[in-house]
């Protein structure tokens, strides 16, 4: 048997659209797409009309979790530098990059500043040589505008995109929620939603000053999305992402002190939630990411303010994204642009699209398969999902990385 797989009789998602067809994988690369006669004596997979799509490229995960990534159809994950020891040296970059192989490609984002302290630039150039695909400020916002200005100039000159967390730390302070009815009723420390727009506004001014590319990892408010929309009209090199949690939930999900809904940035009110859906539909948002940050019970079974923010998002990223297609907001083609093609393009990674000759990172997805998200059945390192109990539709049947089936 030759080292080849033919996935027959599916609906192939390419940047040109979705068309009935098959995909031939040979020697780890995509050898043919469309209508072809598969060679004899190779592994033949019948897709039975399922989607054959590119493997997902997930921007900004906090954990290397290969089983969860494979189950979610993620073949490349950009790792945030927030580790016990922040990824701020070339050795740590290389170590992180090797962590998922051969099943999953981990692409580390280098810490923008030493120890992620927000004061001194880290060895960004050396870390780029070591394989970092971008730089990130981590979970924190860099409060010092002088440092941020230097960071953008320096990283931009090296061709690296800077990934930032957009929350003005002075205004956010010790807040664990967005100011609103739920926070008021529960008596939780809250900050106004403008914390995000303030951070975005400053960073956009610095992008304008430096011309350096910037990616807001998660943008969740109407005001901030408006600022980015305007910046894009001015052709500034900015991009932004969002997680399904911020697309589908509002701050009322925290009612009852549900720590699984404790996220950073916090869930917003219904108006902002709706604005996010509009921004997905009109193209303001470039990327949907999982924000995968599994937190065990010891970090979540605490009073709300003491619990760690974060959710296990890898396994549910695609199925929740497919809700947008079913709701008629976007097409499958656009969904996979948000989940795979755009992230790969923005960070200069291989993969992200089904192209003949490209590395064979692909998934087979049954868009109609119904299932229920259940925290205690998740494959992730921990099952902390705010979507526990939600019935969903669409399941990854097979994940292939570099021509090898990993699910």
């Amino acid at each position: 048997m030759v080292n080849a797989i033919a996935i027959m009789g599916g609906r192939v998602v390419t940047t040109d659209g979705v068309a009935e067809g098959s995909v031939l994988v040979r020697d780890g690369r995509i050898a043919a797409i469309g209508d072809f006669h598969p060679p004899a004596d190779i592994l033949r997979i019948e897709a039975h009309g399922a989607l054959i799509a590119p493997g997902l490229v997930d921007v900004g995960v906090f954990a290397i979790d290969p089983p969860a990534f494979a189950a979610g159809g993620i073949t490349r994950a950009m790792l945030m530098p927030d580790r016990a020891q922040p990824i701020d040296t070339v050795a740590l970059v290389q170590h992180a990059a090797a962590a998922g192989k051969p099943k999953i490609w981990v692409h580390p984002l280098a810490a923008a500043t030493r120890g992620l302290a927000g004061t001194e630039l880290a060895e960004i150039g050396l870390m780029r040589e070591g394989g970092a695909c971008g730089v990130a400020t981590g979970r924190q916002w860099i409060a010092d505008s002088g440092v941020m200005h230097r960071l953008l100039s320096y990283a931009g000159a090296l061709g690296l995109r800077t990934v930032v967390h957009a929350e003005d730390s002075g205004l956010a302070a010790d807040a664990v929620m967005t100011d609103g009815e739920t926070a008021t009723r529960l008596g939780l420390a809250a900050a106004p939603a403008e914390t995000e727009a303030l951070a975005v506004a400053r960073d956009l001014l610095l992008v304008e000053a430096t011309g350096a590319p910037l990616h807001f990892r998660q943008v969740t408010t109407a005001r901030a999305l408006d600022l980015i929309r305007d910046a894009k009209k001015k052709r500034l090199p900015v991009s932004c992402g969002i997680t399904p949690a911020h697309l589908f939930l509002a701050d009322s999900a925290v009612t009852g002190f549900r720590t699984f809904a404790r996220l950073s940035p916090p869930l917003r009110d219904e108006n902002d939630h709706q604005a996010c859906l509009v921004a997905i539909a009109d193209g303001t948002i470039d990327v949907i990411c999982s924000g995968h940050d599994p937190q065990g019970p010891e970090a979540k079974r605490l009073p709300f303010a003491d619990a760690e923010p974060g959710m296990a998002g890898a396994e549910t990223l695609l199925t929740l994204g497919m809700t947008l297609v079913r709701d008629g907001l976007i097409s499958f083609e656009r969904l996979f642009d948000l989940l795979a093609t755009a992230p790969a393009r923005l960070f200069g990674l291989p993969g992200g699209a089904l192209v003949v000759g490209a590395e064979a990172d692909l998934i087979v997805v049954d868009p109609n398969s119904p299932w229920r998200i259940e925290s205690d059945k998740m494959i992730a390192a921990a099952g902390n999902t705010p979507f526990d109990g939600l019935p969903v539709q669409g399941r990854v049947m097979r994940t292939i990385k570099g021509g090898v089936s990993i699910l």
């Binding site: 529960l186 002190f257 010891e298 009073p303 709300f304 003491d306």
Partner: protein, 327 residues
């Protein structure tokens, strides 16, 4: 005293009190709140007599687990439990190393294993009491969790108002001061609006939660305007550590703008009742002469009602445990 709204068991049917725990006023129906107040009345009478004892909780163990320092609330629950004949154990957790984290649930599991019959909890984190209530088999009473709720305080305040004013429905109640950090304010807003009062919150904008109006109250940042015609002026304790360089510029300025003095009180209704959950910062949120004026101030009466309300809550929440059907 006004009559209470009708209750489900006013007919022949006997229903159990439909709440296992008292974690907050949130979720209580107006007739349930009124029932708790009615029940407290009998304990007021008992407490004013010479033989302040009733053995209905004999053999039951009440644990007061206070993860945050408190003197008066702990004492109030302790007296309430003892007057009903329970074995009362006080856990001063604030002084030990067990303060937060997974140990909170561990503590709940431990208390449960010791077969407590009711647990009273105070904690400095909003939601901590609910977390414990979900893990134990016996009724849990919230004695204050973070900024969230302090239900027995709201009940004792409502009882005090009802006894002094004869009603709650239709009264204008101004809750004044540090509403942002106040669990007392949140529980009182829920209880008093449920019972038909018009509630105002009054304070500097930095100490009023952003969406407080969504709780059905009117917001005032001008103290005089907020007091105008109020039947009840409920002052809140300002946490001194939050004053300088934080939420308000100084104690002096705070007193000048938001301190309750006789001059200020003149803006309220002529017979307006003055209340304070204590402990008071005299000369900051309230002038001493106003606080000590027995004609206007109900502050000591609030303390008295506290014991009665807590006795009522302990009695009602343990009824099914004692095999007593109905309210």
């Amino acid at each position: 005293m006004s009559t209470s709204p009708p209750r489900p068991n006013d007919g022949r049917e006997v229903h159990p009190f439909p709440h296992r725990h008292l974690t907050g006023i949130f979720g209580l129906q107006p007739h349930e709140i009124a029932f708790l107040l009615d029940e407290a009345e009998q304990w007021v009478a008992l407490n004013r007599g010479t033989a302040k004892h009733d053995d209905r909780l004999a053999g039951l163990t009440l644990i007061n687990a206070f993860f945050e320092n408190s003197t008066r609330t702990l004492l109030s629950f302790e007296i309430a439990g003892k007057r009903l004949g329970a074995d009362v154990v006080n856990m001063a957790v604030a002084q030990s190393s067990v303060k937060k984290g997974e140990t909170l649930i561990d503590t709940a599991i431990t208390l449960n294993a010791m077969r407590a019959d009711m647990i009273v909890i105070r904690h400095d984190a909003s939601g901590a009491v609910q977390l414990i209530a979900d893990k134990v088999d016996c009724p849990v009473l919230n004695a204050g969790d973070g900024r969230h709720e302090h239900p027995t305080q709201a009940l004792l305040d409502a009882l005090t108002i009802r006894r002094r004013k004869g009603r709650i429905d239709g009264l204008i109640v101004a809750i004044c001061g540090d509403v942002l950090h106040s669990r007392v304010a949140r529980s009182n807003i829920l209880a008093l609006t449920a019972l038909g009062a018009e509630v105002r919150v009054v304070g500097p904008p930095t100490l009023l939660p952003g969406a407080i109006e969504r709780m059905g109250v009117t917001r005032f940042t001008d103290f005089d305007a907020g007091l105008d015609g109020a039947d009840v002026v409920m002052m809140l304790r300002l946490q001194r550590e939050r004053m300088t360089g934080g939420f308000v510029p100084s104690p002096r300025e705070y007193h000048a703008l938001y301190g309750l003095t006789y001059d200020r009180l003149a803006k309220a209704a002529p017979d307006a009742l003055v209340m304070h959950p204590g402990p008071m910062n005299r000369g900051v949120e309230i002038a001493s002469n106003v606080a000590d004026d027995l004609d206007r101030s109900a502050i000591t009466e609030q303390v008295e009602m506290g014991v009665a309300v807590r006795m009522a809550c302990l009695d009602i929440l343990t009824r099914s445990r004692r095999g007593i059907a109905g309210w």
